[in-house]
């Protein structure tokens, strides 16, 4: 094993489970987490996140009772923290799909240690994102009729399918649904493992129901493997389409600062950048809560840091390109929008964004920063902050100074804006902690498959 780890060919695919692990070790290590009482750290983390999640429900209740005026957005800034946070959450989800689908197709085997948790993160991030379009309608019980083409008696007409907002509804709901299908398909064999290990008959029945009576027969695996491959193949263009379509919300408008063709690739790169930052944040937390150091190794985290470095530089390049194009266009409104972004009343947001998204990832050139967990935890948090500010800068600075100076304003968030956003973070972390506690956080069947390959390679090397 030690020789293999030194072999440069395996640098990107470090041994998934350190030492001479067996298949049974993987089952035991991953399943036992869900079978015993959680460690003290889990309760500490839940004690912090649950009140925050409840604060989300309180804020939303207040919002529905009083109307969306409790948020600070108002003309000229009609979109503010709501869509900023929506785009931020959707972007975070993208890393999960990237890890589960694109890295699967590229046969990056190191992904198996983190893909289950990253996919779960995608689902929870999409759930947090969905809060915003649903509640910014002010009447969430009627939102389905506004968002989806359902025959109804309220409007007597159909949605405008020529609008990018409608494309967004379809993109995000398809994305959430397909991510759920992909994640659950991956879970089926592992749920069967939990069923077969269950001592308590009720627990056994619950997992038997959830895994559909999976037996793991050769014929079942045949169809299953193809279904998984097809889902990965479908998710790959899907994830690229989702943030492209989210960027159309802005790019198809005629507003200076939004009306740019660079948006789709720039948004996708930013989404992957922020998503990997969130995966690193969550994985360092999961390692702390559940001592997963043996499965989620520093090598995995280092690989993710490299992805952040690459995508961070794409994002930085996009910022520079935007500025250059604004100048090159010779359009005075376009030039004004960008000068106003960097040196106007929201200069502090712009330079927070630049520091967090362009300067911070440069630390990942140093191996020490890529391999020291506390350092990368802090850097990943800074990138999360920077990417939130990116969306804030794009949205608010482009809106707050309209074409006529009489229509200029300055957006200030209200306490409900803040409690709603903090609440979504609480909901996200609570769901993630519940996932760690009750479901297999690592794809056991996949890790075993990789271990089998490792064993065979070892045999091949020694012969």
């Amino acid at each position: 094993m030690a020789d293999l780890a030194l072999d440069p060919r395996f640098e990107l695919n470090p041994p998934l489970v350190e030492g001479g692990a067996t298949y049974a070790d993987i089952t035991e290590k991953v399943s036992s987490i869900t079978e015993r009482k959680p460690p003290k750290q889990w309760y500490i983390a839940m004690a912090v996140t649950t009140p925050l999640a409840l604060m989300l429900f309180a804020s939303l209740t207040y919002l529905v009772a009083r109307g969306i005026g409790v948020w600070g957005n108002n003309i000229p800034v009609g979109w503010a923290w709501d869509i900023t946070s929506f785009v931020w959450w959707i972007g975070i989800g993208h890393a999960g799909t990237l890890i589960s689908a694109i890295l699967f197709l590229l046969r990056q085997r190191w992904r198996t240690a983190i893909n289950r948790a990253a996919e779960a993160m995608t689902l929870f991030a999409v759930a947090c994102a969905a809060v915003y379009p649903l509640f910014h309608t002010g009447r969430p019980w009627r939102a389905a009729y506004w968002l989806f083409p359902l025959p109804n008696e309220f409007l007597h007409l159909w949605q405008n399918f020529r609008s990018p907002l409608m494309w967004d509804v379809f993109a995000v709901s398809t994305y959430g649904t397909v991510s759920l299908l992909f994640w659950y398909t991956g879970l089926i064999p592992d749920l069967a493992t939990l069923r077969d290990r269950a001592v308590n008959p009720i627990r056994q029945k619950i997992f038997a129901l959830m895994c559909f009576g999976w037996r793991g027969s050769g014929r079942q695996w045949k169809h299953y493997e193809l279904a998984y491959l097809i889902l990965a193949g479908l998710s790959t263009p899907l994830v690229l389409s989702v943030h492209s379509i989210v960027s159309f919300d802005f790019a198809t408008s005629i507003l200076p600062g939004w009306h740019t063709t660079i948006f789709p690739p720039y948004f996708v790169a930013g989404a992957i950048f922020s998503g990997f930052a969130m995966v690193v944040t969550l994985m360092t937390l999961a390692r702390w809560v559940y001592n997963l150091e043996e499965i989620v190794t520093v090598k995995h985290l280092e690989n993710m840091c490299k992805v952040m470095l690459a995508t961070g530089m794409i994002v930085g390049f996009a910022y520079a390109t935007e500025f250059f194009i604004a100048w090159y266009s010779t359009n005075q409104f376009e030039r004004f929008a960008f000068m106003n972004r960097a040196f106007g009343p929201y200069w502090w947001a712009y330079w927070t964004m630049i520091s967090c998204n362009v300067i911070v990832p440069q630390f990942f050139w140093f191996k020490k920063c890529r391999t020291t967990v506390p350092i990368m935890f802090i850097l990943s948090i800074l990138i999360n902050i920077g990417m939130w500010f990116e969306r804030f800068v794009i949205i608010v600075t482009s809106l707050h100074r309209d074409f006529l100076p009489s229509s200029w304003g300055y957006f200030r968030p209200t306490i409900i804006d803040m409690s709603t956003f903090t609440g979504t973070i609480g909901l996200f972390l609570t769901l993630f902690l519940l996932f760690l506690r009750f479901l297999p956080a690592v794809a056991m069947a996949e890790v075993k498959g990789v271990l089998h390959q490792q064993i065979n390679q070892q045999k091949g090397a020694s012969h």
């Binding site: 399918f161 020529r162 129901l209 559909f212 045949k222």
Partner: protein, 192 residues
């Protein structure tokens, strides 16, 4: 094993062999399982099923299994999604409620592409998952295989091979000896 052998004369007496699921062997590694499958097939048995904790490369070839037809379901699903997206946008916009917005045509392909793409992916994904469940006959909460006393090992670290009693050549005595020789532990004749 002793218990097994005691049961065998009982089997010989009963001419109704269908009340058995088959003989199940239990192997240490995927390689042992593949070797056992090839040997058992060479011995003339054809109704085989393997149970493994993870998909094993080369299992389908060893079993003589063809490719999964799932791709066809997904293609049909994707096409249905594409057609529904076109029909939805065309019918709501250009037929049922004609509303000119910003002087744009009531229906055109260009602005319809995003939703066409999304619904294609959505329907294709459902076809993949539902097709997989359908081909695997899931949900199926009871199966005779679960009567094998150590069936739960197949989702952990053991590689199981069942030769079903519906096999025309089914001979429990012969199979138990054969699987045992091939390295199986806890070979059992499993009731249906």
């Amino acid at each position: 094993m002793v218990e097994m052998l005691k049961r065998l004369p009982f089997l010989a007496d009963a001419d109704n062999s269908t009340k058995y699921y088959g003989v199940v062997g239990n192997f240490d590694s995927p390689e042992d399982l593949l070797r056992a499958i090839r040997t058992v097939r060479l011995a003339g048995y054809s109704k085989l099923e393997a149970y493994t904790p993870f998909p094993i490369h080369g299992l389908d070839e060893a079993m003589g299994e063809g490719r999964s037809p799932l791709g066809r379901f997904v293609l049909i699903g994707g096409l249905l999604g594409l057609i529904s997206a076109v029909a939805l946008q065309w019918w709501t916009g250009a037929v049922d409620y004609k509303l000119v917005i910003a002087g744009k045509p009531l229906f055109a392909f260009e602005p319809s592409v995003p939703i066409m793409f999304e619904l294609t992916v959505l329907f294709a994904s459902f076809a993949a998952v539902l097709g997989m469940l359908g081909l695997n006959k899931l949900p199926q909460y009871y199966h005779s295989f679960f009567r094998y006393s150590r069936h739960m090992e197949s989702t952990n670290d053991r590689f199981l091979l069942a030769v079903e009693s519906s096999d025309p050549k089914f001979d429990a005595d012969d199979l138990i000896t054969l699987l045992h020789e091939l390295g199986s532990r806890h070979t059992e004749l499993v009731e249906a």
